[in-house]
Point group: C2
Chain length 338, copies 2
DNA sequence: AAATAGTTTGACAGCGTTGTCATTTGTTTG
DNA sequence: CAAACAAATGACAACGCTGTCAAACTATTT
């Protein structure tokens, strides 16, 4: 019924090993032979049996996406981006949500690696930024690519950098250009490097415009709607209240918006609010949110592509590690317009 | 390094076949032997090699989740619910987003089935409700479970039913009880059975309360924010305008909310709005949305469990098909409170 | 034309399981 | 207590592919 490599070999008049060579793009096959084999493959609509392939070759043709992130939009975009790359390279994708705060995280990951025979992993924040995790993976010998917050730099593992700092600088600059000189910063969790990077960008911009930063305008928090609500409430209690808020992501911004309404503040007249990430719902709030857009799906494909390159490399100590960087782009909407 | 079935057999003092029996819960092994083997398995931390298993047994230990749905929250919840069940049964999950409107849909699905050797599928609307798709799958012999909108009934394939009609009835009843007697209905896409079911429930409720339904109060649309905005704008142009809207899902409801603000209408004073699905953002709008909550993650686990049961069944023609049903639950929030 | 080196191909043994069927062990019965 | 049967276990050949290494070609040199 289903064609095997044997059928292809017979039809093409070569040995199964040669068919195997053609299928795996191994060198040292005459063009003429390649053509015969490919013809036979198409005629029989032959699909290699992945189980047999990985059993015999002790490889897996599966990559894993390990994540801990409550943001559904982000995860879906990441998944779809990785899937695109997987399709191109004939790999399969295994998704593996975890709890990064679990005490058992490392063991759980080890178990997963053991069971699921993935040949590589894509990691996103906060996991990609936790040294325990990356150390463990390096030790285990599993190859992985990380999406992390920061500027392009050479690390010993392949990375996709997100230049949050510059993007945050641009957002803050935009707020300043709208006439604001008292701007609050609503943080996300500190385990996310993005929080620190965005704060740095915010401070950079203040300094560049000779504005003072004030500690009481920098609010600790987390990447959630509720955190935005909470800090929004605190904000209005301040004497000499800031007239603008730079929220570390759109969820916080949405929460801040909610709090503003609770307090009877008009946005943007009484309080301008900017978010970060360009989640779909940043276009569905009233008013729509100014934010910094990052092309998550493209980032994901890039990360996966880096992983595939890395998987093909021999396991040498010394080698050039490929990286790439993305800079989220300012998107101005009604929540910060005068 | 990594333990094989041979190591376990040696340690337990039995043949590899017996170890295999124990691992697969096959009958006809003495309890005493089972214990010896399990002990050896734990001691060596043995994990069966999935590739070898599926090659030898010609089975796959992989289920697929095929979907076409732009709602990230829904998809993530489905994925995580299915994953929970998979973990329990030692299966892996393959995700496969498709475009249900593509001309090539059926071929694409066939290719995917051929390549990825899944042993079963979970389908959600609209795919689960497209007869071309289900027919093709039945023909191909792939087992699958569907999540569909409708009341519990016996079909030839296992299903998880969502009783949208009753839930829609309850929502409409709630609006009526708030004193509304002119209630508009904002539809989703008609390919989704849920649209028809929810409309039916809406009409049921009107009739039950002796209210007339009017054709111009039933708006065609789709499951999107934009559709809600558009129909919201149309709504206000009506003379004798409805005072309440039952939107087919939360996104439409959010759009309607947006349109209301555009028009300077207060929600709920001038216009009450109810949604459906209980997406997280239904709690993040202002005011928060009344909606019908469906336990997506539980639904997903149930669906996967049904699939696993079905996979174990021999491929007979005559057999009892297991089903189950969920009824979304009314959640009253500020968008409909007087 | 023979010798050499390089290139292309094939034979065959695994990879770690499960399926089949034969063998052993245990239990019941006349 | 042997015969007859059932229950538990094992030996061994697949499963479809890749890795290894030897064989068969081809091209180049002497």
């Amino acid at each position: 019924m289903k064609a095997t490599i044997n059928d292809v070999a017979k039809l093409a008049g070569v040995s199964i090993k040669t068919v195997s060579r053609v299928i795996n793009n191994e060198p040292g096959v005459r063009q003429n032979t390649i053509d015969k084999v490919t013809a036979a493959v198409t005629e029989l609509n032959y699909q290699p049996n992945q189980s047999a392939r990985s059993l015999a070759g002790n490889k897996s043709y599966v990559v894993g996406f390990v994540y801990d992130n409550p943001n559904a939009y982000y995860i879906i975009d990441m998944q779809h981006g990785i899937l695109d790359a997987c399709k191109k390279h004939h790999f399969e994708l295994l998704i593996h949500p975890v709890d990064s705060k679990s005490d058992n995280l490392l063991n759980e990951l080890k178990d997963m690696l053991r069971q699921s025979r993935v040949s590589g992993l894509v990691l996103t924040p906060p996991l990609s930024e936790m040294t325990e995790v990356t150390d463990m993976l390096t030790e285990t010998g599993v190859k992985f690519v990380r999406v992390i917050s920061g500027k392009n730099q050479t690390l010993s593992t392949p990375c996709v950098f997100i230049d949050d700092r510059t993007a945050a600088f641009n957002i803050t600059k935009h707020l300043i250009e709208q006439g604001h000189n008292k701007i609050a910063f609503f943080s996300g969790e500190e385990v996310h490097h993005s929080t620190g990077e965005r704060l740095a960008g915010y401070l950079d911009a203040l300094k560049a415009h000779n504005l003072d930063s004030r500690d009481e305008w920098i609010f600790a928090g987390e990447y959630s709607f509720e955190s935005g609500v909470e800090n929004g409430k605190k904000l209005v209690e301040l004497t000499d209240r800031p007239t603008a808020v730079f929220a570390c992501n759109d969820e916080i911004a949405a929460g801040t918006l909610f709090a503003a309404r609770l307090q009877g503040l008009d946005v943007p007249a009484d309080l301008a609010i900017a978010g970060f990430e360009d989640n779909p719902f940043s276009r569905q709030t009233w008013p729509k949110l100014t934010t910094a857009a990052q092309p998550t799906k493209t980032i994901a494909s890039q990360a996966a592509e880096l992983l595939f390159k890395h998987l093909r490399l021999p396991a040498k100590k010394e080698q050039v590690i490929e990286n790439c960087m993305f800079e989220p782009e300012l998107v101005v909407r009604e929540s910060t317009k005068p």
